[in-house]
């Protein structure tokens, strides 16, 4: 009934508890992590709460209008950019509490040493449908 975006950051979010870069994990730990994520998504598909999810490359390009009759200007990625999105998942759940619960679960994905990463995930609600007149009858 309400859609939320779960944002996973490469950087920009506060540090995770189990904060070891992924390239220093064992291959088994990486497999376990990937498996956890895909199991999580599969479970949400079954519960009817899954909308979509994608991982995105750390390489990005800034694009800007170049002016009348000119091609767009491209630049970046900017080294100083503080935030970097690693991937996202969209869920459709009954309540904010449920969205928080699921984000907490996703944050528990295993990392180095097989222990939960405790990474910070950003939870952002989608703008909803139009308000009903009952919610704001003066409209």
């Amino acid at each position: 009934m309400a859609k939320y975006l779960l944002l996973k950051h490469y950087r920009g979010a506060p540090a995770a508890v189990n904060d070891v870069p992924m390239d220093q994990w064992t291959p088994e730990e990486i497999s376990a992590h990937v498996q956890y994520m895909s199991d999580f998504a599969a479970r949400l598909e079954k519960s009817g709460e899954f909308v979509d999810s994608q991982a995105i490359s750390p390489e990005g390009t800034f694009v800007q209008y170049g002016g009348e009759g000119r091609p767009p200007v491209t630049d970046g990625p900017f080294a100083e950019t503080k935030d970097l999105i690693a991937g996202w998942m969209v869920i459709d759940v009954d309540s904010y509490e449920r969205a928080v619960e699921l984000a907490g679960e996703l944050s528990a994905a295993p990392g180095a040493g097989g222990r939960p990463i405790h990474e910070w995930l950003e939870l952002r609600p989608f703008y909803g449908t139009q308000a009903t007149a009952t919610d704001c009858p003066w409209k």
């Binding site: 009934m1 859609k3 598909e45 079954k46 519960s47 009817g48 709460e49 899954f50 909308v51 979509d52 459709d92 759940v93 009954d94 703008y127 909803g128 449908t129 139009q130 308000a131 009903t132 007149a133 009952t134 919610d135 704001c136 009858p137 003066w138 409209k139």
Partner: protein, 381 residues
């Protein structure tokens, strides 16, 4: 092939199967099989009694499936005693479906999906499109809902309030894709109103009709919001308003007030005013007082503050607002509006901009941003 006919018969046929003892999921499968059969056979050989045909075929499909399933021997005993097909009021079967689909064991989104599917006869794809989720997601949601209620005994009376809440959720979703959920909710509530004599069902139906009547005027062609006071009242659907008012009056006359009737009364007072400035705000405040007695919903008290601002002036409205938790949705927007009416344009502009940040949807955010911009550009800095 008459799809509208098939769709209107589906809940009836489903209800009959469930009443005969089929569990919900099995009954639904059987009805779907029967519909496929109908699509195949009817064009060449149309039945005289479409509903009877569907019931017979669906029941046979159900028996076949049950008999084939050895693990479900228990149900086999049940179907051996096939009930006599005596006359039963058609509406009762559908009514039972309403209660089942709105069962308290279901989450709101599951109840909504199941109601649209079983009572509304919509396809899973249509429901998924309306809610902007993948079809597979909606299919899972529906099949989970069916599993959840498969153990529910069907002989207990359902809770009308739960059914009304589900229908109201459907109405509020608006529409996207090829299904207009507001119209669908009205259709289902009408159907419910013919099946059950309950003042709040009438109250909800009236409320929906009165809101729906204003729909064309509530948004500009570019999708932006048009506030009530600025709406072109010529674009309100007077037929729907008249019907809503009549249904409401009949319900109110029975003197069993509930929150939907009270909300409908407020909507009726707005619909009644030939011009915004002729709105009977004093009576609207009285209805909000009734509504506040019936429900502890804080949104009601927020709306009441707006009405008080119109009836007794913006200062009175701000006083009423001051008594409320300022974290309430739209609290800031209301404060902005009342400050503007009170002549404090600087505060109003700041609050409009703040309210825009908190707006729950894009149309409202754009509307509030425009209000802030209007004040910022018209007053000297």
């Amino acid at each position: 092939m008459n799809e509208t006919l098939l769709r209107s018969l589906t809940p009836n046929v489903l209800g009959i199967l469930v009443r005969r003892g089929a569990d919900f999921a099995a009954a639904e499968d059987a009805v779907q099989d029967a519909l496929i059969e109908a699509v195949r056979v009817w064009p060449a050989d149309p039945p005289r009694d479409a509903k009877g045909w569907l019931v017979t075929v669906a029941w046979r499909k159900f028996l076949d499936a049950t008999r084939a399933d050895t693990a479900r021997r228990r149900r086999e005993d049940l179907v051996e005693e096939e009930p006599a097909s005596g006359p039963a009021p058609a509406t009762d079967d559908t009514l039972q479906l309403y209660f089942l689909c709105a069962h308290p064991s279901l989450t709101p989104s599951s109840a909504v999906a199941l109601t649209l599917r079983a009572v509304g006869g919509l396809t899973t794809r249509q429901i998924a499109q309306a809610y902007l989720v993948p079809e597979a997601t909606m299919a899972q949601r529906i099949s989970r809902a069916k599993r959840t209620i498969s153990e529910v005994r069907f002989d207990q009376p359902g809770d009308v309030a739960t059914v009304l809440r589900v229908l109201y959720l459907v109405f509020n979703e608006g529409y996207s894709g090829d299904v207009d959920l507001a119209a669908e909710a009205i259709r289902l509530t009408r159907q419910l109103a013919t099946a059950i004599d309950h003042p709040e069902v009438a109250g909800l139906l009236a409320l929906m009709l009165l809101h729906h009547a204003r729909r064309a005027a509530r948004t500009a062609p570019d999708g932006s919001l048009v506030p009530l006071a600025e709406q072109d009242r010529g674009r309100w659907d007077t037929t729907l308003i008249a019907e809503g008012v009549e249904i409401l009056q009949t319900a109110l006359a029975r003197d069993r007030l509930g929150e939907f009737q009270a909300q409908a009364a407020i909507a009726a007072l707005h619909a009644d005013a030939p011009a915004a400035e002729e709105t009977d705000w004093v009576q609207i405040v009285e209805w909000y007082d009734e509504l506040a007695r019936l429900t502890d919903n804080p949104v009601v008290r927020l709306n009441r503050a707006v009405a008080v601002g119109e009836a007794d002036g913006p200062r009175a409205g701000l006083a009423a607002l001051a008594a409320l938790d300022d974290s309430l949705p739209r609290h800031t927007a209301v404060a902005a509006y009342l400050h503007e009416r009170d002549g404090d344009l600087t505060t109003a502009a700041r609050l409009y901009a703040e309210a825009a940040q908190k707006a729950p949807n894009l149309a409202e955010r754009a509307h509030l941003t425009r209000q802030a911009a209007r004040l910022n550009t018209c007053r000297p800095r």
